[in-house]
Symmetry: C2
Subunit: 398 residues, 2 copies
């Protein structure tokens, strides 16, 4: 069997599933870690496996600019090239093009924050999107067909249709027009994928519609009725956690139940619990690894002196002489030997090893969290699991 | 047994030895890798071991400024803190203070090159050296006693006396005065070490005297007759490879044969062969790991398209689509899966993983080289070993 998705158990608190790809099995709910430019930055593929990682993703936008889809293909495709050799997903390139174009998610790119970044999106029309490379200023024109062709060269198991990633600040009319164009793009993506389908890749559709229930309904109907293997919930989810919860909630009610559902770009611990309760199968976010590179280590509520943040900041001078590991009860490759004091020193000295050590912890932490969630869904102990892992539940806040 | 040095076999082409420390055994000739700020930058302690590393060193100068010797002691000492738990050496701090002060080895510090770096050495007198921290401008006064105290807190197995690291451009009179002061400092270091000796650390003396045979003789006599466990060859070795060879050669003839001899700061492949022939037991240099962070991968002559450089530059666009590993016949953690093309992409994208992958290769390469040298000394096949590893010998050049 090359591809399959099966639901092992469906409950009101979430569902247990199994996503099968040519490169391996993903037990869901699962977290997809971001190897943006075909690398987990400070973590090797072996270390990713040792941290119990199931699946990673790379970004078509970055890879089409450097080294290019053809080079990745020449080097054996993403899984072989990166040494990961496990399940992978690529996005369509749309998110970065449009977030850069709209200037809203600038810090995503190049791993650093530039507040006055020049906008690189030059033009959008029915055919596709024209933008400038952030590397050398060269002009590119990305169409739905071209995105699929590039993703075919990249060779990930799961690929995604090109969409216009509409920002929050546009109105309902713009959101509706944009959504309908994204639907037309999705049909073109589906056609391009289907014409060359050799069984190696499956295509995800994306649900747009912003915060508007009526548009989400239209988008769900569209994605439900076409031949997508999986469904991604995209577009603007609102301006607050409450609104995100509402948007995901009413959207999930309209989605057919037999396909894997991915929530794009969400990755905080409480957000994951919220998503699982609504039936989400997979999540992705740069949060665990980006946080790590700033010295933030994810910890369980019982190991957390804070009532508000899900992590501790190892740059804080209070950790200078601290001989304990990040978490005493953690089994990750970092916590078995490295003290908070040592990591604090490495962060102050800007040693690359710091980013590696904290990233490994955060990746293991998230994988352990997802495993606990799966176990809890299996054993009907979801509420106590959430209390153990989720700061708000644990410390009695809302 | 906590400390010992034994010569297993002495030949005209070098000697085989065994250096025993409380943290493990070092088979010599051996290479000591530089964990400057108590980290191998992009390589974890586990990866160091997997690359067959025997011993590493850290720099007192950097660690006294950040995090401070007392903090390292609180965190369990260098071996425990770094997770290395193997044999270690620390230098005295002198090299960085004086090289920064004289402005000659500026690129050493902070891992980057600053050509107009302000000189941080404020004052040298009989008592010690006054300098400014490159981190916060704070003033420090390092004496021979203080260097030993800091090294005691750091806790490496092998420690080194504070000396004035005289540059090449000074005259014989300055070199002689400086050397004699370094000898007086060495006696103070020896006294401070002996007063607190608990069997955990052994002290190396340093031979000064620049390029002058008469001064080298005086310095060898001094170091030979005092109670140093090991001997380091320091000071200026001249302005060319030929002069270095001559200086090391006549110096080695004057050194007693029963102590381990370390050649400070030398680490090219041909230099290692030259040193081994002269009886050197250990080498250290930032070269293999610094080179790696610039994309330079050490390769054997048979894998090297160049007749002049001991490495290939993976940043070169010729490697863009190259599916081969750095070396096909290498067994390192990198070469078992990573292609030159992938590493080229990572270097172009400034991904940290690139520095990690090439560093691992270069460390393994040097450890394999030292193992080959030891085997060759044992089997009396040194010349063919040198031909296999050394570009000049292999390609018939001088």
């Amino acid at each position: 069997m090359t591809f399959d998705f099966g639901i092992l158990k469906a409950t009101d608190l979430g569902r247990l599933g199994r996503l099968i790809t040519p490169h391996g099995v993903v037990e869901t709910p699962a977290f997809i870690f971001c190897a943006t430019k075909a690398a987990m930055k400070a973590v090797s593929p072996l270390q990713m496996r040792q941290a119990d990682t199931q699946i990673i993703l790379s970004n078509t936008y970055h890879l089409m600019l450097q080294p290019g889809g053809d080079v990745v293909k020449n080097l054996g495709g993403l899984q072989k090239m990166t040494g990961w050799n496990g399940p992978m997903l690529t996005d369509s390139g749309g998110f970065q093009i449009f977030s850069l174009g709209h200037g809203s998610v600038a810090s995503e790119v190049k791993g650093r924050r530039l507040t006055n970044r020049p906008k690189t999106l030059l033009h959008i029309n029915e055919q596709g999107a024209k933008f400038k490379s952030y590397i050398d200023g060269k002009t590119y024109f990305l169409t739905p067909e071209e995105s699929i062709r590039i993703q075919r060269n990249l060779g990930a198991d799961l690929i995604v249709v090109l969409d216009e990633c509409t920002p929050y600040h546009v109105d309902k009319t713009y959101t509706q027009e944009s959504m309908r164009m994204s639907h037309r793009w999705a049909l073109r993506s589906l056609k391009e994928w289907g014409t060359h389908d050799d069984g190696r890749q499956k295509l995800y559709g994306i649900i747009q519609g912003g915060v508007y229930p009526q548009l989400r309904q239209e988008s769900c109907d569209f994605v439900n009725e076409h031949n997508f293997f999986g469904i991604a919930v995209g577009g603007s989810l609102g301006a607050s956690k409450e609104q995100m919860h509402d948007v995901v909630s009413f959207t999930m009610e309209m989605i057919r139940k037999d396909r894997p559902v991915h929530l794009l770009g969400i990755g905080g611990v409480s957000d994951i619990f919220s998503g699982v309760r609504q039936g989400i199968d997979t999540f992705d976010c740069v949060h665990p690894t980006r946080l790590a590179r700033h010295g933030g280590a994810l910890v369980k509520p019982k190991n957390n002196p804070s009532d508000t943040r899900e992590h501790i900041n190892l740059r804080n001078s209070m950790y200078c002489n601290d001989c304990d590991p990040i978490e005493n009860d953690c089994g990750c490759e970092t916590c078995v030997w490295a003290s908070r004091g040592y990591i604090h020193h490495l962060l102050k000295s800007q040693e690359m090893l710091a980013y590696s050590l904290v990233s490994i912890h955060n990746i293991y932490f998230i994988n352990k969290l997802m495993k606990s969630i799966r176990d809890a869904l299996g054993n009907d102990t979801f509420d106590s699991c959430q209390k153990e892992w989720c700061l708000m539940e644990s410390k009695g806040q809302k």
